[in-house]
Amino acid sequence: MSEFFILTQEIRKKADQICTNYPVKRAATLPVMRLVQEYYGAISREAELELAEYFNIPPADIRELMTFYTLFYSKPKGKCHIQICRTLSCALRGAEDLVHYLENKLGIKTGETTTDNQFSLDHAECLGACEIAPMAQINKEFVGPLTKAKLSQILKQNYAGIAD
């Protein structure tokens, strides 16, 4: 039995609890991966190996889940993670303009993080909030309808050091 460094005793205790919800241990992979990501902001390669050990499955199986599902990250996102919905309802109401605006303002391309780790900008497919299109998920919160002015305000309010 190898030692756990990332899956601390505390995390494993919570994970054991999650596993009791299922007749098959493997079914708890997604919730336990989410748990690990909540602790560290990402699931590193080392974490993947320990998860594989914990579930007694090949590391490739954890890798497969990492790449299949969009909500698992190998590297932590910035402190403020903005995901602009780009699907039809948001696109019809100007999502693309908002992306260009943010790319300019933050000096990064979609999919990137600012060098000071303050901001990450991503696209998302339909987040199920078309009634407030165009919208974004900012960290855990759904925000919309968005305009450039509103985005600017949100960024400034919450995160100092953003120029106009």
Partner: protein, 430 residues
């Protein structure tokens, strides 16, 4: 708007306007859990019969009769039967289940109790999409409250019936809303849909018989138990019982969730309920049932919004996500965005879908960038024809339906777009 016929009957959405309807105390004050109590005094077969009479259809998108679905589940295999609640709301343009889970989560739980009793289920999993944070928190609070009040767990409502409910959060994959992809995901694997048969009713979660129902479908059960299947059936249109929650978005004045009869027309939804097209503009096109449904033109909007009527005109009721486009919308760009979605969300298991959606998207992208050729259009149709009926699940069928409908109904606009970009290029070269 005076003089217009507006269906004032509300069932689920009545709770959206009530303060604190997410709490057990208010939900019970409004008569909540009375239907579950009543159901537990009825024979399971009687409930199934009532649900069949109600013509309640699967409101996640497939539209399969709910009672019929239950009747396929073998009861005496010696294995447990599972209920899996599909709360992986991901069909673009759809956001109604989010409202139920956020504003009246106990209604869903009551529906779960009724369905579980009717089919003989003691364990239910609610698979909720990973991005839904607030709905998850509200649902979690409701489940905790229900356990504390003896509405879940052992001996529910003083009966001898036991039921456990587990909330399982997804991790960002459209395909996991497909019922067998969902089962794979719930078992801790990537969400590759399964080949059917065997159907989940017989071999589902962990190899056991499984009922998979959508959030909204389950949430109508308390009303059916309370007021009867015949009453519910009459609220809808022929063979399409009751009301359903229409999610309306795009270029309308008032985007939102509207609970209306299955027999409502698309015209009524757009112009009477959602306030018409924004800024007094003209309607150009509308997607009636989530992104996978064939697009409709303004002369098709007198169609009734039930599953069978939409199918009859070559589209589908789907998830009732209505996306409205006004005269300013470019069909070329709308289709590019649509196919970008399907290319991104194709799980990659079947070649026609994995390669086809990506190939179509790349060609459309080239057209939008001004490098289109007129012969691309026939080529696109050729690729599109290979998408449907050649894959394990219905993702490619949906992509095909919407894709071909754009090219059939708006071909002139695509041709014009390509010709115009040629003119621009020629001009730039002189």
């Amino acid at each position: 708007m005076p003089g217009l016929r507006i269906n004032m009957e509300k069932l689920i959405s009545r709770f959206f306007d009530l303060q604190d309807a997410d709490t057990l105390s208010l939900y019970r004050k409004e008569g909540g859990y009375a239907a579950a109590k009543r159901a537990l005094d009825l024979k399971p077969a009687a409930i199934e019969e009532e649900v069949k009479r109600s013509n309640l259809r699967g409101l996640g998108g497939a539209g399969f009769g709910c009672g019929m679905k239950w009747s396929f589940v073998p009861r005496n295999t010696g294995k447990p039967i599972y209920l899996v609640v599909n709360a992986d709301e991901g069909e673009p343009g759809t956001f109604k289940d989010k409202y139920i889970m956020t504003y009246v989560p106990h209604l869903l739980l009551e529906g779960i109790i009724i369905a579980s009793w009717a089919v003989g289920i003691h364990k239910a999993y609610i698979y909720i999409r990973g991005e839904y944070e607030l709905p998850y928190l509200k649902l979690k609070a409701a489940v905790d409250e229900a356990y504390q009040a003896g509405l879940l767990g052992k001996n529910i409502l003083g009966s001898s019936f036991d039921l456990d409910v587990v909330i399982h959060r997804g991790a960002g994959a459209y395909i996991c809303g497909e019922e067998t992809g969902l089962l794979e995901s719930l078992e801790g694997k990537k969400g590759f849909p399964r080949l059917k048969p065997p159907f989940p009713a017989v071999v589902g979660l962990f190899g056991c018989p499984t009922v998979i129902n959508n959030v909204e479908t389950l949430s109508y059960l308390p009303f059916i138990v309370k007021s009867g299947g015949d009453w519910f059936a009459k609220l809808g249109s022929e063979k399409n019982g009751g009301l359903r929650l229409f999610s309306v978005s795009g270029h309308v004045e008032n985007p939102g969730v509207y609970e209306l009869s299955m027999g409502v027309t698309l015209r009524e939804i757009i112009y009477q309920h959602a306030g018409g097209i924004r800024d007094g503009k003209k309607l150009k096109a509308v997607v009636p049932g989530g992104l996978s449904a064939a697009i409709l033109t303004p002369n098709e909007i007198d169609v009734k919004m039930d599953f069978d009527s939409l199918k009859a005109i070559g589209s589908m009721g789907g998830s009732a996500g209505v996306i409205v486009m006004d005269e300013t919308a470019s069909m070329v760009e709308a289709l590019r965005i649509t196919m970008q979605f399907f290319a991104h969300e194709s799980c990659g298991q079947c070649t026609p879908c994995r390669e086809g959606t990506g190939w179509i998207y790349r060609i459309l992208n080239r057209i939008v960038r001004g490098k289109g050729r007129l012969e691309d259009l026939d080529h696109l149709i050729d690729i599109g024809n290979y998408l449907g009926g050649t894959t394990i699940c219905a993702l490619a069928d949906g992509a095909q339906m919407t894709f071909l409908s754009y090219l059939k109904k708006f071909r002139g606009e695509f041709e014009q777009f390509i010709r115009k970009s040629h003119l621009k290029e020629n001009y730039a070269n002189t």
